[in-house]
Symmetry: C2
Subunit: 327 residues, 2 copies
């Protein structure tokens, strides 16, 4: 068992290597083991590319008799690439160890019916956490939604509506770019676009620019706004949020970062369309003549996942607890 | 030098042993060293009791020729106990190493004129931090003021005025009692007394009950309120806050914890009568129909000193930065 854990850890480590490039696919890593030694490693490197299992097997001259460790159930279907199960069976692998089942696949059944021993549930929690966006999307048929808000310690987001306030410091700004790289779409209201004219690109990190999704309000967005700099944007007007999420899901946008402003936060919270929160809290109190983060009426319970100092600011990562009072 | 640091660390460690019992006196520890070995240790154990230097010397049969390490300049005046400098000189100690000078004393001068070698500034920052309340009180002639607020992540302190809201959890409540034990007075408004009927005693910790200071408003406080359970309270009505702080200082109340509610917070912040903040942040958003922490108009810059998870909540310790924008 402890040797299973050791090899699965390596598969999980490999999976993370392509963190910013495989979405909406899950991150998957694989190792092949013979006589308690790793003989090949692989991972899913980019959307549309080889799956991790295939990557590992292809790097191995003699996989027959080996044990395959992979953090997600191998696929049994023809997608952009052929089914992984076929190659696993053909290669003579005798055992497959899986961290977490894939809700969309039946790979295990196929492997077992070919006489391969299958073990599941090794480091399952870590595997669930690694691909939490993927699993939630499978279950809810909508993108994983992260709400990011820079707030003062008294819960304000700006001095006044329409007036831009930089609350947080340099480190928070870098982190905000990393967050963008971890999502396939960034969503904000046209009010924020008009007041801040944000670039919304991924500047400080490697990673693809996410789709810029703008919820348009009454006022037109100037044509020379930075968000129009290339075709990678989507303007949505007067659409129900649940419908919009459905559309994004069907367009393979499986994770979005909601960046505000206050009205947008409110709409998402009202529809319970928030999975996790990132608060970047600035070390100041803005006082009463400021714009509240919370314009909604109900109490909203959260669970703090982590907190850390980020330069002068604090970063708080929390999870929505819709079920406890508001579910 | 490194041996100075080692012995001074021990003096500082000893100083903290009586943390909750010496106020308004500073916390002081002392060690006597001969041939690089500690031959006696002492600390100031309670208000009115022996000073640390005296405590150490009294435990030593032959202090002559020793070096004394003490985190605060020895006193040269007759207070509740005789001047420490006299005993140091009489005992034949040849060197005194001091972390931080005492703004109210001239002990160093007296020691040097008796031919004793004096070194200062060893672990001065740590010594300043340990007795920060004492040093600020010496300088400003008013108590050290800590504002403690339990807030939601959107900066609210309660659902509605007059309605009690328990925001934070068990661990925060224990910590709040510890905080009380670290201050000589607890101050709150009669509104909070009337709505919460708080006990304000130090329940979970050893330590003396602090003075209960109530700022009275329009409404009378019921006679059976818990704050009236013994004589250890002070009701203040219609008095200027600066005057009240002056009075408390003169009554030897040199540290107070301001516990709210919103109007009281506002008054202290308006008068710049806050030195440090403790925010206990609950993992929830209370929404717009709630009472704001910040009812004041100006922006208020802080510096985050530390943050940590406290059960389900977050504890944030911050320092007022009055000088940067609002000084």
């Amino acid at each position: 068992m402890s040797e299973h854990i050791e090899f699965m850890k390596e598969a999980l480590r490999l999976a993370q290597k392509a963190a910013f490039f495989v979405a909406p696919n899950p991150m998957v890593g694989a190792v092949l083991v013979k006589n308690k030694k790793i003989i090949a490693k692989g991972y899913h490197k980019e959307f549309g590319g080889s799956h991790a299992e295939v990557d590992a097997i292809n790097q191995c001259s003699d996989p027959a008799g080996a044990t395959l460790y992979v953090n997600l159930e191998p696929c049994d279907h023809q997608g952009k690439t052929p089914p992984c199960t076929d190659l696993i069976i053909k290669s003579g692998i005798k055992e497959v160890v899986i961290a977490k089942k894939d809700p969309k696949r039946n790979g295990i059944e196929k492997l077992e019916s070919a006489g391969i021993k299958v073990t599941t549930g090794i480091l399952e929690e870590e595997a669930a956490e690694l691909n939490k966006k993927f699993f939630l999307t499978c279950e809810k048929k909508r993108p994983f939604i992260t709400l990011k808000a820079a707030i003062s310690i008294d819960g304000k987001i700006a001095k006044k509506r329409t007036e831009q306030t930089w609350l947080t410091g340099e480190e928070s700004s870098k982190y905000a770019h990393q967050l963008r790289a971890e999502h396939q779409g960034i969503l904000l209201g046209s009010g924020t676009v008009n007041s801040d004219n944000p670039h919304l690109g991924v500047r400080h990190n490697n990673g693809n620019d996410p789709l810029r999704i703008i919820l348009a309000g009454e006022n037109a967005i100037p044509k020379d706004s930075k968000i129009f700099r290339d075709e990678n944007y989507l303007i949505s007007k007067g659409k129900n949020l649940n419908e919009l999420m459905q559309e994004l899901y069907e367009q393979n946008i499986h994770s979005i970062l909601v960046e505000g402003g206050a009205r947008i936060y409110n709409s998402f919270i009202k529809e319970k369309l928030v999975d996790e929160y990132i608060f970047l809290i600035a070390p100041k109190v803005l006082g009463k003549n400021s714009l509240n983060f919370s314009e909604f009426e109900d109490e909203l319970p959260l669970e703090i996942l982590s907190m850390q100092k980020l330069g002068q600011d604090m970063k708080v990562h929390a999870k929505a607890k819709w079920d406890s009072n508001n579910g």
